[in-house]
């Protein structure tokens, strides 16, 4: 039967994605300035002390894991946001996570805080912005989604204005480049400790969304229908926002502003496995991870200098997305 065929397809897709993920993760250890041949990677990783191991473990591993985790988190957050706003053009920063995190980071950099302080500040400001956004709209009884998107846009504008002001006032020799660099998004400075702190909230966010996958499905039909199906749309959305925000805030605070993953990957994933959240979330997670890891590999190996990751994802992602849009137009309802 047709439906069974689809389930089989989902299993196969997940198997394939897992295999690709593992290959990419191992293969990425071979990418970088210090040359390590592909067949030397596994022996070096498990073969005891060597200069290769030091490079692989201290420099490449945190970066590879961070790229995968951030990509996955942004993609999962994006698919959740797109569903709860029943709008396929929504990205995870719709409620101001990224803009808030940017302001938090800029403030911490201006205050001369160490790297962990910048990340913590970005995390707190990112979540804080979403909380403010939600509280503003909380009392609106009907048509909450439109109000949320509007409030989010306003808060983004406000946070961006703050960042612009800080950049304007910043010392052009050290603070300004630091802020600019952070805003471009980069994984060059990720360490195992920060990654260890950022992954638990991501896992919590993912588990929350996965646990409410059937409610998320109903929420994509709109508030009225969700309610008539027995779901309190406001409460459900509040929990979903919390989960998606945990994911995107933890991603942004270690990687800076990496656009596009959260907007694009959910579309591609939906195209592969369908819109049901039970399938979409795991597929998005792996695809987002693979995509960002690949982008980061390209960012650090294409030119002799490193290309900012945000530039890389946009340069590859935007044309692909444009192609996807023309395809959808051809499908005609």
């Amino acid at each position: 039967m047709e439906t069974k065929g689809k389930k089989f397809r989902f299993g196969r897709v997940m198997l394939l994605l897992t295999a690709v993920s593992l290959l990419l993760i191992v293969g990425s250890f071979g990418v970088g300035y210090y040359h390590i041949a592909p067949w030397e990677i596994l022996p070096a990783l498990f073969g005891g002390d060597s200069p290769q191991l030091t490079v692989l473990k201290n420099l490449r591993m945190p970066r590879i894991l961070a790229a995968f985790a951030i990509g996955g988190a942004l993609a999962v957050g994006g698919s959740a946001y797109q569903g709860m706003f029943k709008n396929p053009l929504v990205s995870p920063d719709i409620l101001g996570v990224s803009a808030g995190a940017g302001l938090g980071a800029a403030l911490a950099i201006t205050a001369g805080s160490p790297a962990w302080g910048v990340q913590l500040s970005a995390f707190v400001f990112g979540i804080g912005t979403v909380v403010i956004c939600y509280l503003v709209v909380h009392r609106v009884p009907w048509n909450q989604t439109v109000s949320l998107i509007l409030a989010g846009t306003m808060l983004q504008t406000l946070a961006n204005a703050g960042v612009t002001m800080l950049k304007y006032l910043a010392d052009p020799d050290d603070t300004l480049p630091a802020i600019t660099f952070w805003l471009m998004g980069s994984l060059a400075k990720v360490e195992m400790e920060t990654l260890g702190a950022a992954v638990p909230p991501m896992v919590v966010g993912f588990v929350i969304l996965m646990g409410m996958r059937y409610r998320l499905n109903a929420l994509t039909l709109g508030d009225d229908e969700a309610r008539s199906l027995g779901i309190d749309p406001r409460r459900t959305r509040a929990v979903a926002i919390a989960g998606a925000t945990l994911l995107s805030a933890s991603a942004v605070c270690i990687g800076g502003l990496i656009g596009f993953v959260g907007l694009m990957i959910p579309h591609v994933a939906r195209w592969l496995v369908g819109p049901q959240y039970g399938r979409l979330l795991p597929a998005s997670c792996l695809m987002g991870g693979c995509f960002l890891l690949l982008m980061d590999d390209m960012a650090r190996s294409t030119l002799t200098m490193e290309i900012p990751l945000g530039v890389m994802t946009a340069a590859v992602g935007a044309p692909f997305f444009l192609w996807l849009i023309t395809r959808q137009g051809g499908d005609a309802r």
Partner: protein, 259 residues
């Protein structure tokens, strides 16, 4: 089970789109809400279901007011089929029907095998089994209506509320919807549905509610409500009732404009 709606009043802000509407409906029966566009049919349904603010009156289920009920509680007694229905994402039909089970799940629970079987059974009853694997967005208007009726069936609510289920369907497809409505009543559901036309496939035990500008014009059996005077008051057009006998010897009343 009996539904009693008493003096229901509703609307957004200061505007009152529905004023002092009262009627009752028992499970197994059909209530037709008739009236021209803008007469408050959708507002009545949405207010009754708690989808928009209630300004006054009561909705009683066997004497219990549903005003403070949670969405999950409401959904066990009422299922709703909204008017135009175009979701953004292309869920397979099977999943759309399965969404009717959400109100029966505990917070972190997923639908199980029994739920899936129920969904497929509902789809089969509506003659839509062949649609199960297709994307809902690719269906025609008539097929979507049947899928949503299957979802209502799968929800196992005692009352089904349908907002103009046949308004954009062709003749044969609307007949399929009417058949589905009767199938629902045979299963013991009370069906509430609206129509902007005065002429509908009524049966003797059906109840009619005639609305105009958010107010009740008439309520009762077809014989009581379908009078030239009441219809003219609702539609603002002179009307007459023709009587005829069909092939089975049933007396039929047909509403037409008097021109």
């Amino acid at each position: 089970m009996k539904l009693d709606v008493q003096h229901l009043t509703g609307g957004y802000g200061r505007r009152t789109a529905l004023e002092d509407v009262s009627f009752s409906l028992e499970t197994g029966k059909v209530l037709w809400v008739l009236g021209p566009n803008g007469s408050g049919k959708s507002t009545l349904f949405r207010t009754l279901l708690g989808l928009q603010p209630r300004k006054g009156g009561q909705v009683l289920l066997d004497g219990q007011d549903t005003g403070r009920w949670k969405a999950s509680e409401m959904a066990r007694y009422f299922s709703y089929i909204p008017q135009s229905h175009t979701p953004v994402f292309d869920y397979p039909v099977e999943e759309v029907v399965l969404m009717g089970r959400v109100c029966h799940l505990k917070p972190l629970q997923s639908p199980g095998k029994a739920d899936r079987e129920l969904a497929m059974k509902a789809l089969e009853q509506m003659g839509g089994l062949h649609l199960a694997g297709r994307p809902y967005t690719a269906l025609s208007g008539g097929e979507r209506q049947l899928v949503l009726i299957a979802r209502a069936l799968c929800q196992q609510a005692r009352f089904v509320v349908m907002d103009e289920p046949a308004s954009d369907l062709d003749y044969a497809r609307s007949l399929a919807v009417w058949r589905a409505v009767r199938a629902l009543t045979r299963q013991g559901c009370g069906v509430m549905l609206s129509s902007h036309a005065p002429e509908n496939p009524l049966e003797r035990e059906d109840r009619l509610l005639l609305l105009r500008e958010g107010k009740m014009v008439a309520w009762g059996t077809p014989d009581q409500v379908l009078t030239p005077e009441a219809l003219e008051a609702a539609y603002g057009v002179p009307m007459e009732i023709l009587e005829a006998v069909d092939h089975a010897g049933r007396k039929r009343r047909i509403c037409v404009a008097r021109e």
